[in-house]
Each structure stands twice: as structure tokens, then as C-alpha cells.
Amino acid sequence: MDVSLLPTLLGVAVLLPLASFFVILTTGRRLEPAWGGYLATGAIVSAGVLALGSLGIWLTHHPVIDTGHHASEHAATSLPENPSVADDFRWRNADSETTRATTRLASFAADEEAEHPATEKAADGAPHGVDEHVSAAPVTGDYYLLGQFGQLRITIGYYIDALTVVMFCMVCLIASCIHFYAMGYMHDEEHEVTDHEVTLQNGSQLKRRGRYAQFFQYMSLFCFSMLGLVLAGNVAMVFVFWELVGICSYFLIGFYIERKSASNAANKAFIVNRIGDFGMLIGMMAIWTGLGTFSFGDIDNNDNGTIERGERGIFAQVRPPEQHHQLITPAGMALAASQDTVAHWMRQHPQATEEQRAAFLEEEATRLQLSDEADSTTGPGYWLLIVAGVGIFCGCVGKSAQFPLHVWLPDAMEGPTPVSALVHSATMVAAGVYLVGRFYPVFAPEVLLVIAVIGVITLFMAATIAITATDIKRVLAYSTVSQLGYMMLALGVGGWLAGMMHLVTHAFFKSLLFLCSGSVIHAVHTNEMTQMGGLRRKMPVTAVTMLIGCLAIAGLAIPFVVGLSGYYSKDMILEQAFSFWRSNETFWGGFFFVAAAGGAAITAFYMFRLWFMTFAGQPRDSHRYQHAHESPRVMFIPLIVLSVFAIGVAWPLPFSSLSLQGLLEQARPVGTAATVQSSLVELTWPNEHIAHLPENYDVIVKPVTLLAFCTAVGGLSLAMAMYVFGVLKPSEVRDQFSSIYRFLRNKWWFDELYQVLFVRPVHFLAGLIALFDRRWIDWLLDTLATLVTRFARLWEWLLDKRTIDALGDSLADRTYRLGLSLRGLQTGSLRQYVLFLAVGLIAVFLIISFFWSPTWAR
């Protein structure tokens, strides 16, 4: 089994759900509804089998090397075995620094001479003895061409590395569980449904035919899009599937299309996401123009077995191998920016002499050459790199519901619960984080700072809102937003592995939590926790699995010994944030860590608040309690499966070196393990492994682990105090801090703010423009037309009637009068006639004799 089989295997895995979608779409109404469920489930399970097979193939070719730091022991490896540290070492190595600069200059000079590159000159002497990484080479290539423009190609391709394979398995696994679960949960839709939330004009409740098959049809389309997104080999393809998952999300949020709230939420989700995509488009434009490719990896376009110029992917251009995968301003971007500078200068100095121009160009050329010096932030084109990074991140902000575009996700809970579990917690919203992880090599340090800031704001804000929410799904929605903020923070402070780990662990425990909440809603037919309570007696499986989910998300564990999956990933994030603080003893440095730790406490509090309000204590609504029941087997078995993963997905596989962490470490983008500095913002991003060095165990790992444990326990205890023991009455607390409560209860007034700031102005402007069309442009035209007709009439009157006609008329008139007056000559007297004849004859002779000219005769 060769790795070259992977594109086919995974490609088929992507297409299977699409096939299911089309089959249900075309035959859906003639089919027994249940078959829709079987088809979709069959498709995603088969895709899962293929994904697992791919994982197997991958592992046989790239066995996970035991890097030493197991999830359970936060010890790090010794220096030589850890190539990332070597990376870091190389970075600081003065020798290589010099070599790099020389290399760049040399190659620059080589290019300068002529078209043909000087092959021998450059890059020799570079210390390429130390190899890059444990990271395994990705499998890259194209499936087919979307369009070709000279050298530029836009394709549908693939980029397969350990991250792709892990994401594939995760998505398929969770999606399979949720499909099974949904067969139970959506059971009602197999028959005619009465929607109690929709009242018709005549006062009756809406009755409609069930949409069971349709639900699975959308789910299949979603699975196709999500898997395609994971497989995507270039940014254009990412964007394609990015929008496709968005549209599936639109369909699924708006599944109950008769409800106004659902269609509003669906619209909101799509449009808010498009705002993010607008930013992403800008980033894509910067990349496309600067680099001339969208492909992540190198693509051998001409199939000659080697990668030439122009075949390099984004990663290799931004972190060229001959620069030791250090981030540089790519040549294309530097040139583009330089050209802009020159054009601008020329416009500013039209009077400049030849010498001045030459001097300026010389200066610019020097700046260009130095653009990959250590202080590359001053070089031309660096800002384009930042635009590219921030732009792509904008897309992620939309999709992963980060501040300020987080407003759509809580509303998205209008969709059925399995949708919330799959689309709006585990997979699609995590796609933003996934893309940040995938795009990590391209992010300049300043962009990382933006990511970290957005992440920390999001995690804190969403956590605070979750405290006061009483809708069980909205608590989970805000929790999702908050956890995604954690991942962004992790990535932003340099913790690639931490972010990716949390992405995977979170997907399992959050989908578990959502499915549990769905199970509860299924039983009591309400989302309001204020009407629940004591349900653990009625639905023990749900209660236990949900407790596992809560423990996992809160990161509870026996410190240093063993914990649930969330413990490992969350601790990694906190450790990295702490390590960041140690490297930057400034406000920002501390802010990230403190907010993250505080957020952890709040997380524990609201999660257990949720659990206690739902399952503990006495029933608040006895009627609902009476009718509550444990869910059918098809629903609770997925809960058990998912809770197994929520517990142990971060543990190493027994009797092997295989662990999630090790597997993900393989996918770490080459060159990103190094410590980086930014001179623009004066911060240092510490190498992720620094936190795990043996010498740092006591200063980073130990205190952070303990602190994390304390915050989690603190949150848990507060929740217990308020909702179990009643030491603190929630209502009293509410009254005590009523203004804060109102602020949080109204979700920081984001919706209202956006309504005033954006929605209304846009509608106003639209109205204005429509008015402009009618009142101005059309008015102008109509007036013009009227004027022309008036003018024509005037013209007719003035010229035709008054002038030409008048002339003709008067001529006729005069002729007539002349005739009348000449009538008097007709006397009938012969003598008079003879006299006239004689006078006329004399006159003719006189005229001829006076005026005759011989030339007339010719």
C-alpha cells in the first residue's frame, strides 16, 4: 500500500456523501423516508472506513516516533532528538544568519545578470546537515483544472499530511455517530409533523409533511463539503468548500423553514460568514498576486519529476527550503510592493532628474535585497504578507465565530440538535481553526498577535455570556465560541500543536455535550434549563455521558497523573500562554495567560451549572419531568462511543508509540517550531517545545497544571455552591449584580449594536440608491425626453408653421394676388396687346445688346 493511494482513497471518501446527496435529492420523494437515513449513514460510515484505511497507510509509511512527551507526562525530549529545537538553534545561529543574507544577495545577483540562473552560486555552505523535522512530507497534487491563465493555474487538488488524515478520521467518526443518533432524533420527521412553534393566520398550528430524507440529504452534502475542505490542496479549493459548508449550514439552520426565527438565523449565519469571506478574498488576492499560486504544496505541473520555479507552493515560497524554512517576504510580494513604491515616487516627483531617479531606484533595490534580513518588517512587501495573513484569518473569524463575527453561532441553534453537534460545534466551526493551523507557515508574527488578541477576547466574552444563558443549547453554543477562542489563542501565541490538539479533543467532547443536550430536549421538549432538573434519575446514560463531557471540557483530572482529553489540550494551551508570558514580561504577555486561566474557571462554572440545573436537584417542572424518558438505543450508543473518545482521545495507544500528539506533530508545518520575534510589536513567540523542556518543568508545567486544576475546581465548586447546596442563591447574585447581569443576558448588546451600525445603514443606503435611480437618473431622462418633445413642437411651430409654411403660404398668397392684379391687363383690346408686344420686343433687344457676352453661347 503506497501513499500515492491516499488521494484516491480520500477522494472517494469525499465523494461518497455527495453520491448519497444526489441519490436522495433525485429519488427522495419516492423513497421510504427511512432509506434516506440509511443511505446517508452508509455513505459516511464507508467514508469513515476509507479514512481509517488511509490512516493505516499513512502510519505504515510514517510511523509515529515516540517524541517522549506523552500526553500523560509533560516532559520533553533531550535536545538532539528534538529537531524543532534544532530548528530554533539554527535560527539563532549567527553563521547561518550570515549565510542566508549572502545567499539571497548572491541569488539576486544571479538573477540580475540574465534570465538563466546561476546554479552553482547560491545556497552552498548552508548548514543543511540537520534535517527539518519529524514532519512527514505531505502528498500533494491536483485532481483537475478549473482554469489556466498563462502560468497561473487554479485547480482542485489535495494536500495530505497527518493533519488531513486526523481531521478526516475525526470528521467521519463524529459524523457517523451523529448520523446514527439523528436516525433516532429526527424520527418524528418520518411522518406528518405538526410544528407547534408556527401558528398560521387562521390560528391553527402548521401541519406539514416530514422532511426526514431531506435532513439526511443536507447532512450528506455537509459531510461532502467538510471532507472536501479538509482535503483541499489549495486556497481556492478551501474557499470553494468553505462556502459549501456555509450553505449546508444555511440549509440546516433553516431546516424548520416555516419558522421565521430559523430562516432569519440561517440568513444571518450566511451573511455574517460572507463578511468573513470578504476578508478572506482580500487575503487570497494578495496571495494570488504576490505568489502566483494558490497551492499549499509544490505541484509538479509538467510531470517531469522535479519542482521548478513557478511550481512551488505557497509554503515553499514563504518559507523557502534554502532559507531553512524561515519566514521571508516572498519575492513576488516584495517586487510588487517595490514597484508600487517606485510608481508612487515617480508620481510625486515628476520633475526629478535622471540622476535622482537612478539614485532612488538604487536605494529601492537595496531595500529589496535586504528584505529578508532578520528585520524583514521594514522590507518592501512585508505588508502584503500581513494582508494575506490577516485576510485569511478574517475568513476563519467568520467561520469559527470569533469576535466580532461571533453573533451568528448562538442563533444557529435554531437548527435541529444533531446539526448543532456536527456542524456548529465539532466540524464546520472548527474549520476556521483548522485553516489557521493549515496556513500557519504563512502567518507573520504580527498576524499571530492579531489571532491571539481576537482569540482571547472571544474566549472571555463568550464565556461570560454563557454564564447567564438558560437555553441549554445556547450555553453550549457560547461555550463552543469560547473554546474556539482558546484554540485561536493557542495558535496566536505560538502553540500550533496545542491548538490542533484542542481542536480534536474539543470536537469529541463538544459533540458529545450537544448530543446529550439533544437527548434531554428530546425527552422534555424544551430548551429551557429553568424547566429541567433532577433528570439524572430518568435518563442515567445521558446524565453520565454528559458529566463526562463536562469533566472533559473543564479539563478536570488528577493532576500529573491522568485526565480526560480536555485536560491535556487545555493545559498545553495554558502552558504555551504562560511560556509566552515568560518571554514577554509585558501587559500583553500576561493578559493572554490571565484571561485564559480566568476563562477556564468560568468554563468549569457554566458547564457544571448546566449539568446541575439539568440533572441534579429537584424537577422544576413536574409535568415535563413526568414525561421524560431515556432516549432509544440508537441515540445513546453514539453517546457512549463519543464519551469513550472524549475520555481517551488524547491518551497514547497502549503498547505502541502512537498518540494523537505524535501524529499531529508529524504535520507541524516545517519551520514553525522556531522561536520568532517581531520588531514591529516587540514581542517574542517562544518555541512551543520550550515549555516542555526538562529544565522548564518546574517553572512552567508544574505551576500551570496546578493552577489549571485549581481554576477548574474553583469553577466547579462555585457551581456546586450555587446550584446544589444553595449556599449562594442565583437570584440573589443576579440582583446584586443586576447591571452586569443585564449586560451579559443581552449578550453584550452585539446584535443591537450591529443592527444600528450596519444593517440599518445598508438598507438606508440601498433605499437611497433605488431612489436615486428613479428620482434622479430617470427624472433626468424623462425631463430630457419631455424637453426634446417640447423643443420638437416648438421647432415645428416656429420653423415649419411660422417660417417655411408661412413662407410658402405667403408666396402662394402673393402669387394669387399678383394674378388678381394682373387680371386687369386682360382687357380684350387688340391695340393694347400690340403695344405690349412692341414694348416687349424693344426691351428684349435692348437687354441683349447691353448684356450679351459671347461666352454665353458656349
Binding site: 543543511h128 504544496g297 523557502p320 517586487l335 510608481a343 529589496l368 445598508v762
Partner: protein, 622 residues
């Protein structure tokens, strides 16, 4: 030669033959009249597909050839060198196929027309002939004739079969287009009387003394008589020899001094205004909403699906190749017009309450992409004359024309379907169609999403290609253009919500909302399937056919920029000196030599692979 004359003429005039047949059918045989018209349009469609796409056909279109194919020239009015000449290349072929397809579907949608069916069918078929003629003719005069011929049937089709304000709309349409036609006529005469085949022959390979001919004479498809005359007397007795041949005019614009830069500038401007009235672009667009709202459904389909494309076709076929000076100097204006139309149309669409008016404004917005894509002249000294992004813009614009032809024709059709049932179009008085007409709703949502630019459907490809190509031309325009995706999503989703979603229909005539019938489903279905195919396989279904032609045209113009335009700009006596050109004055700074490489080429030498054994691409070659 004769086969070409026969088949191309047949393609263009087959609908008119149908019209002649109809003229002899009694006017009360309504079904027969429609049947004959449908057969005529169907035959035209089959002919266009069969002739150009079947490999065994004598007229098979060769995708690798960049020049005109299957062309012919017959003398028509020899004293002015006006000829009856036609041909097909990568730019016209997709539009011809679009025309025949949309005409067929629109004829299928014409069953809803019940008034004066005979006259309707005759005018409809004449209209199709005129549209096809515009796309295949190679003679500027003939082009103008077809252009104007198309106007009259359209005027009557709107003015007689339209809605309540049909006369206003028809006159508005007529006058607008006529004004455009007048501008075009002025430009045609300007170009004709300055044209000179003698000068062109001098720089071409017709001149045996020219060691470096820049024009291949055979590619111009001039009549044999003209060629022979110039061969016999290369100076034409010292007089210029005028021509209406579009290809020859283009070659003159690029390779001779026949048209001075100022002359080209004005000709470009006149032609451009004439064409953007048709596109239509803001602020010359207000005929479109009225015409659409009043026109019967099939005519709206034709109008949006084909007629608007003539403007784009004119710009790419006539404005740029013939007047490159104007194109270069006015590039920013062209792009700005495109961007303004995109934004303006989207905002205006957001504010409409009339369903059809909203779709009409969406057309203004979407056709803005076409103008923008055609305008991105990004092959300058600053980009080392790399025309790749420009190429992308032009292909994106061409694709957008085809995609819009499918999605907008579909949208107008769908609006018509529901209008036929409930006789109103007020967006606020719909709702709940999903429950009443499920298949129709599914198709509608699909086609509306194609217009929204959803990936996987045809609208996305054109929009994405155009928008991505603009950054290299201008950041600001690119960012504004990209922002339109938000507005588009806004108005389309809002319309879908108001019309299709919701619990129940709350407008008049609710009882008439019956599920769509087979005829309606198949028309919308064809368009929807095409929207998917074009969206998923753009290269296979569309771009493949236009690649060579557009590559060549853009390459030629880029070459022209480098060899003709920029040196002129750099000389002090030239007109407004552009900063980009200034850079090339004096000694070339060595800095620019580096710029000669396309941006994705790295500066580093090629030996880097040897230094990077762990290069990520390694395993992809296994």
C-alpha cells in the same frame, strides 16, 4: 469555403426561415405556430452544437486554434469594401451556443404568451437571427446592421406583449439603444475613413520586402479580390484603402499608425459608451429594470441571457483590439465603471420590492463583473508585461457572461412561473412557496444560489476569477469589488426568505399556486444542471474553447503595450506621462531586470532542490 458560407449562414438565418414558414400559417393555429417556432429554435440549437462540437463535423471547432475558424468573405457592397463575412473563434463560439440555447428555452417559456401569437413568433425568430448575426459577423458594417435589426423586434416584443407600462419601457429601451447605436456609428465612420489596408499590408507578410512581418495577412480573412489588388499594386495608386473588416481594423490599431492615439481614444470612448448602454452599466442602466419588468417572461430571458452579452462582446471584440490606446488610457475608467455597477446594482437590488426588478438590478451588478474583468489592463512595465492576471480577468469576464446568461435567464423564468400563477411580483406578498411548489422551489433556490456566486455553481467561477485578477491592477478597486459578495448574499437570501420560506403564502390568488408542470420543470432543470456543470467543470465546458483565442488576444495587447505604448509614453512630447512608463526611461536600472520574471518565480537558483532532501513534494511523485 462554400461549406462555411452555407453552414454559418444557415445557422444565422435558420430562425428567419422559420419565421417565413410561420408567415404562411393561419394566425388562429396557435399550437402549430408555437410548435414551428420551437422546432426552428431547436434546430438552430442542434445545428450550433452539432456543427461546432461534433468531431466529425466539417465545422468542428478546433480548440487549439487561436484565429478565426470557418470564416468566409463574400463581397456585398464592393465600393465601400463592405462584405458579407462571418467566422467563429473562442470568443464568439460560447456566446453563439448560449444564444441558441437561451432562445430555445425562451421559446419553450413562450407558451405563456397568448396574444397575437403569430406576430410574436415571427418577431422572436427574427430577433434570434439578429443576435446570432452580431456574434458571428466579421464585418463592422454588417455588425452594425445586425445590431440595429435586433432593436426593432425587441421594441415590439416589449411594447406589444409587455405589462402595463410597456410603451414607456419599450420607448426607453429603444431610445437608449439607439443613442448607443449612433455613438457606435460615429466611431465606425471614424475608423473606416482612417483605416488603410495599404499601411497594414506594408507591415504584414504580404509585403515580401518586410523581413519581420508583424501581421499574418491570412489571419485577417480579407477577400481574395482585395488581397490580389494589394498584391498587384501595393501602394493602391497612392490612395489609402479603407475597410470594415474587424480583424484588419484590429491589426491596424495595434500594428500601424492608421489611427492616432487621440483618434483611438475617442473611438474607444464612443464605442464603449455604446456598448455599456447595452451591458448595461451605471449610470446608463435605467432602461433595464423597466424593460425587464414590463417585458413578457421569455423576452426577459432573452434580454438578460443574450442581449446584455452583446455589450460585453463588443467591448472585447471591438473596443480593445481596435483601439488599444484608448483601452490603455481608459483602463481605470472601464474598471471603475464595472465596480460602480457592481456596487450600485447590488444596493439597488437590496431595496426592491418587485421581484423582477430585483432580478433586473442583480443583472446590473453581475454584468459589472464583466466590464471590470475586461478592463484590467495589468500588463505594464510594473508587472514586467506579465499578462497572466489580465488574461484571467478577461476569461473570468467571458465566463461570467455565459454564467450570467444561464443564471439570469433562469431567474427571470422562475419569476415568470410564479407571476403566471398569482399575477403579482411584490416580494412582501409571497412566502411559503416551499410547501406549495416543492420542485419549483428547489430549482429556484439552486438557480438563485448560482447567481449568488455559490461555489460549485456557475456564478462563482466568473466572479472569483474576475475579482482575483483585479488586485494586480488596483488594490482599492479589488477590495470594493470583493465587498460585493456580502451585498449579493444579502439581497438573494432575503428574496429567497420572503418568497420561498415561511409558513404560508400571504398574497392574492393563493389558490392558483399549483406545482410547476413538466415544461416548466424541464426548462429550469436544464438551466440548473448547466449551472452545476459549468460551476464544477469550468475548464472542460467553457474555458477550454476560449483559451487559445483569449490567450492570443491578451498576449498581442501585452506585446503592443510593451513595444508601442510604453515607449510612446516615455517620450516627453507624448500625452499625459504615466508614472509607470517613466520607470523605463534612461538606463534600465538593474532592479527591473529582476522584475522580468513572473512573480511566482523565486530569485533563488534552481539548485535548491538538491539542498532540500526533505522537500515536501517528494512523495507526491510516487
Amino acid at each position: 469555403m462554400n461549406t462555411h458560407v452555407f453552414w454559418l449562414s444557415l445557422l444565422v438565418f435558420l430562425p428567419s426561415l422559420g419565421a417565413i414558414v410561420i408567415a404562411f400559417v393561419p394566425k388562429d393555429r396557435v399550437e402549430l405556430l408555437r410548435g414551428i417556432s420551437l422546432v426552428a429554435t431547436a434546430l438552430t440549437f442542434v445545428l450550433s452544437v452539432g456543427a461546432f462540437l461534433l468531431p466529425s463535423s466539417a465545422m468542428h471547432f478546433d480548440t487549439s486554434a487561436a484565429t478565426m475558424q470557418h470564416s468566409f468573405v463574400l463581397s456585398w457592397i464592393p465600393s465601400f469594401d463592405i462584405s458579407y463575412s462571418m467566422g467563429i473563434d473562442g470568443i464568439s463560439l460560447p456566446l453563439v451556443l448560449l444564444t441558441t440555447l437561451v432562445s430555445l428555452l425562451a421559446m419553450g417559456a413562450s407558451w405563456s404568451v397568448t396574444k397575437y401569437v403569430k406576430a410574436y413568433c415571427i418577431l422572436f425568430l427574427i430577433l434570434e437571427t439578429a443576435m446570432l448575426g452580431v456574434f458571428v459577423t466579421l464585418d463592422f458594417f454588417l455588425f452594425f446592421v445586425f445590431w440595429e435589426v435586433m432593436l426593432l423586434p425587441m421594441y415590439f416584443l416589449i411594447g406589444v406583449w409587455g405589462g402595463p407600462r410597456r410603451e414607456y419601457a419599450a420607448i426607453k429601451f429603444f431610445l437608449y439603444t439607439l443613442v448607443g447605436g449612433v455613438f457606435m456609428l460615429i466611431a465606425i465612420l471614424m475608423l473606416y475613413f482612417k483605416s488603410d489596408l495599404v499601411a497594414l499590408a506594408k507591415v504584414s507578410d504580404l509585403n515580401p520586402n518586410n523581413p519581420t512581418p508583424s501581421v499574418v495577412w491570412a489571419d485577417l480573412h480579407l477577400s481574395d479580390a482585395t488581397t490580389q489588388a494589394l498584391r498587384d499594386d501595393p501602394t493602391n495608386g497612392g490612395h489609402p484603402r479603407h475597410t470594415f473588416n474587424l480583424l484588419a481594423l484590429a491589426a491596424m490599431g495595434q500594428h500601424t499608425d492608421a489611427f492616432s492615439p487621440r483618434w483611438q481614444y475617442w473611438a474607444f470612448l464612443l464605442l464603449f459608451v455604446g456598448f455599456i448602454i447595452k451591458v448595461p452599466s451605471v449610470p446608463l442602466h435605467t432602461w433595464l429594470p423597466d424593460a425587464h419588468v414590463e417585458a413578457p417572461t421569455p423576452i426577459s430571458m432573452i434580454l438578460a441571457g443574450v442581449l446584455l452579452k452583446m455589450g460585453g462582446y463588443g467591448i472585447i471584440r471591438i473596443c480593445y483590439p481596435i483601439c488599444p490606446h484608448g483601452g490603455f488610457d481608459l483602463a481605470y475608467v472601464v474598471c471603475a465603471v464595472g465596480v460602480i455597477s457592481m456596487v450600485y446594482g447590488a444596493f439597488a437590488a437590496l431595496a426592491q420590492t418587485d421581484f423582477k426588478r430585483m432580478v433586473a438590478y442583480s443583472s446590473v451588478s453581475h454584468m459589472g463583473y464583466v466590464v471590470l474583468g475586461l478592463g484590467v489592463w495589468s500588463a505594464t512595465a510594473g508587472t514586467a508585461y506579465n499578462p497572466d492576471y489580465w488574461n484571467m480577468g478577461v476569461k473570468g469576464a467571458m465566463f461570467q457572461m455565459i454564467a450570467h446568461g444561464i443564471s439570469s435567464a433562469g431567474m427571470f423564468f422562475l419569476v415568470g412561473v410564479v407571476y403566471d400563477r398569482v399575477h403579482h411580483r411584490n416580494l412582501n406578498e409571497f412566502g411559503g412557496l416551499f410547501g406549495r411548489m416543492p420542485v419549483y422551489t428547489a430549482l429556484s433556490i439552486g438557480i438563485f444560489f448560482a447567481a449568488l456566486g455559490l461555489p460549485g455553481l456557475c456564478g462563482f467561477i466568473g466572479e472569483a476569477f474576475v475579482v482575483l485578477s483585479v488586485w494586480n491592477f488596483d488594490y482599492i478597486l479589488a477590495i470594493i469589488a470583493a465587498s460585493v459578495v456580502i451585498l449579493t448574499a444579502g439581497y438573494i437570501l432575503w428574496a429567497i426568505q420572503r418568497v420561498y420560506l415561511g409558513p404560508e403564502y400571504h398574497g392574492p390568488h393563493g389558490e392558483a399556486l399549483t406545482p410547476s408542470n413538466l415544461r416548466e420543470n424541464s426548462i429550469a432543470g436544464v438551466l440548473f444542471v448547466l449551472a452545476i456543470l459549468l460551476g464544477v467543470f469550468p475548464q472542460t465546458f467553457v474555458l477550454r474553447y476560449m483559451d487559445s483565442t483569449i490567450d492570443r488576444q491578451v498576449e498581442n495587447l501585452a506585446q503592443w503595450t510593451k513595444t508601442v505604448k510604453e515607449p510612446q509614453l516615455a517620450t516627453p512630447q507624448a500625452e499625459p506621462v504615466d508614472a509607470t512608463a517613466d520607470r523605463h526611461r534612461g538606463d534600465e536600472p538593474r532592479w527591473f531586470v529582476a522584475a522580468e520574471h513572473p512573480p511566482n518565480e523565486s530569485w533563488h537558483d534552481e539548485s535548491w532542490q538538491a539542498d532540500a532532501p526533505g522537500q515536501p513534494s517528494g512523495s507526491s511523485r510516487n
